[in-house]
């Protein structure tokens, strides 16, 4: 067990995957010599050379499409899109190409590519550099989407994504890059689609992913002081997501709150809530309450951004409302 930072765990996962599999290569803007805008790819150019680490021109659509084509030709590309806001430029390649190739070609092959990209606020980066757009990708059959909430998961989920035969989008959280956490000596092999009980509890379930997991844990602390035991589920992946785990928890706690940093309306939480309002209906003792960003672009100023991002207080309020 050693302590590491989230961003270092990402770096280590890339390094190990490149060591273990010569078909793994990296492509992205300023990922080589500069080591990436957030240093996720630091030293990898030196270690593996320019034949494995491609510093690409500013051309997100082409970067993503190149990953698709290389994946169809026997390689395992890991593309970086510098901010998740820029996947707006990659959508065709992700949605109409990567996601559909296997199914529409009748299962002939697959597209074993990974696209890493950071979402979320906390850097005052403003409306075009803070968005959490994972709900779009989760809506697309053929894509998988993982969102690690801590350094150990950042490592294990990225390794799982690279090992996966299908296109996986790894959504990292900018505000977590500096987060410290324990990294097991033999990192866990995570199966994409399995959630993790981050904190057990019996009175209410909070489902979260990414940075919201920490917020949910903080809210659970507050509630614990009042004698309310909140179970926190870290989804780890939002497509597929662990419906069975959430349903099982709900059948014990009977109250559900869903939290994410993304805009609440039409976000990932809507699907979880909707699904539980169907298959979990008989288990519900109170309304399903969601906590997410308000329906507005992410503001850039410090106070506004703080007010915009979800936090423990809002999760506590949501819990109080469903438990009322």
């Amino acid at each position: 067990m050693a302590e590491t930072r989230y961003i270092k765990a990402v770096n280590q996962a890339l390094k190990d995957a490149m060591r273990d599999d010569p078909t793994v290569f990296l492509i992205g803007e300023d990922i080589g010599a500069a080591g990436g805008s957030f240093k996720a790819t630091r030293d990898l150019l030196d270690l593996y050379g320019p034949e494995r680490v491609y510093d690409a021109p500013i051309a997100e659509a082409a970067i993503t499409g190149i990953a698709v084509g290389a994946a169809l030709t026997g390689m395992k590309p890991v593309a970086e899109i510098m901010f998740m806001d820029f996947i707006t430029l990659s959508m065709d390649m992700l949605v109409n190409q990567a996601a559909k190739a296997r199914s529409m070609f009748g299962g002939q092959g697959s597209v074993p590519m990974v696209l890493r990209t950071p979402h979320g606020g906390g850097l005052n980066a403003g409306p075009q550099h803070s968005q959490c757009l994972e709900a779009w990708l989760a809506h697309v059959p053929g894509l998988k989407v993982v969102v690690p909430s801590n350094p150990a998961d950042a490592y294990s989920l990225l390794r799982a994504a690279i090992d996966d035969p299908d296109p996986v989008i790894v959504v990292e959280n900018k505000a977590l890059y500096a987060m410290k956490g324990e990294m097991p000596d033999t990192p866990e092999r995570i199966e994409i689609g399995k959630a993790r009980i981050a904190r057990p509890g019996r009175d209410a379930t909070v489902v979260a992913y990414g940075a919201a997991v920490g917020m949910a844990e903080a809210a659970a602390e507050v509630m614990a002081a009042e004698g309310v035991e909140v179970e926190v589920i870290d989804l780890r992946s939002v497509q597929p997501w662990d419906e069975a785990c959430v349903l099982e928890s709900l059948s014990r706690t009977h109250n559900l709150v869903v939290v994410h940093e993304a805009v609440e309306a039409f976000g990932v939480g809507a699907e979880i809530a909707a699904r539980m309002a169907d298959i979990g209906f008989d288990e519900l003792d109170g309304p399903i309450v969601r906590v997410g960003a308000p329906f507005a672009p992410s503001p850039f100023g410090k106070t506004l951004e703080e007010a915009y991002r979800p936090n423990a207080d809002r999760i506590v309020a949501a819990l109080r409302r469903t438990l009322a």
Partner: protein
């Protein structure tokens, strides 16, 4: 080129032609679901280009992809079955005309998104370069596609990284219902110059010209990876898709198409080189028999089961 080689190119073009004519009829009979874009008049391009390719080379295509696909050597019955949406289709009936693929033959797929084949092929070429086996990648696209930004992103990257990719433009002068000249302020030769990419233009209706130019370019790329552009002037004979009556086209233009028919031109060249009518008829008979057999088999094949919809969305059964 030996007479035999030339006759083989003829046979391949005729296979594409007859296959598409058959599809045209099947479409008119309501048996082809979805859109059908025929490449009648453009057969010399893929046949000429493919004569320079091996099975390990990869190609990717666009909405008008039947010729590209057949020229890469895919199974004729699987091809028909796919376009008819049958369970025995190359893609199990899930793709149809705009999405035929056969990865085992290096055919990475037709594509319903204009210009989408370019980055995919650029990525395939990157993989070839990394794998170091001398394989190359070919992308077919139309003149109308040149307006999409992706074309430029890919020309730039292919040149920067010396990727073994052949950009094959089928310039038929049309982009759907509009003359492409109203959509483009540039041309591929000028773009080639702008990016420093080797550019060749050929009469895309003369299969030997296409084959010769492609052969040269591809041989060079195999030795020293680098991109190249091959622009083929060609002719779209049918409408943009079946059902398009081409009211927007000049009758003179349409009348002139026959004289440039690539199959007729090839037949004339073969006759000039000594082949007789009987030999040509024998080829035609052989081709027609094959097409007929493939069509019959495809028509007789079962439709996919409804339950099949959820298959293959992911490689592993869902968690």
């Amino acid at each position: 080129m030996t007479p035999k080689e030339r006759a083989e190119l003829y046979r391949r073009m005729l296979t594409i032609r007859r296959a598409e004519e058959r599809l045209q009829k099947l479409f008119a009979d309501g048996l082809v679901p979805g859109f059908l874009h025929l490449s009648i008049g453009q057969e010399a391009v893929p046949v000429g280009v493919s004569s320079a390719l091996t099975e390990a080379d990869t190609v990717s295509s666009n909405h008008r992809g039947h010729g590209h696909t057949l020229a890469k050597g895919v199974d004729l019955t699987g091809f028909f079955a796919e376009i008819l949406g049958k369970a025995t289709g190359l893609c199990r009936g899930r793709g149809g005309s705009m999405h035929v693929a056969d990865l085992s033959k290096g055919m990475l797929g037709a594509n319903g998104i204009v210009a989408a084949g370019l980055p995919i092929t650029t990525g395939s070429a990157l993989a070839h370069r990394m794998q170091g086996k001398g394989n190359i990648a070919v992308v077919y696209f139309g003149d109308g596609a040149l307006a999409e930004g992706l074309v430029h992103e890919c020309l730039n990257i292919a040149k920067l990284w010396s990727l073994p990719i052949l950009f094959v433009c089928e310039n038929n002068g049309w982009s759907e219902f509009s003359p492409t000249e109203r959509q483009l302020a540039t041309s591929l030769d000028r773009l080639g110059k702008a990016y420093g990419i080797t550019y060749r233009e050929v009469d895309g209706n003369v299969v030997e010209e296409v084959a010769r130019a492609a052969g040269k370019l591809v041989a060079g790329m195999r030795k020293a990876p680098a991109p190249a552009i091959l622009e083929c002037r060609t002719t779209r004979v049918r409408g943009h898709f079946e059902g398009d009556r081409q009211d927007y086209r000049d009758s003179d233009e349409i009348a002139a198409l026959d004289a440039r028919d690539p199959i007729r031109l090839c037949a004339e060249a073969l006759m000039a080189a000594g082949l007789d009518d009987a030999a040509l008829a024998a080829i035609a008979a052989e081709v027609e028999a094959k097409i007929e057999a493939a069509t019959e088999a495809a028509l007789a094949a079962p439709l996919p089961e409804a339950g099949d919809i959820l298959a293959d969305v992911y490689t592993r059964a869902e968690v």
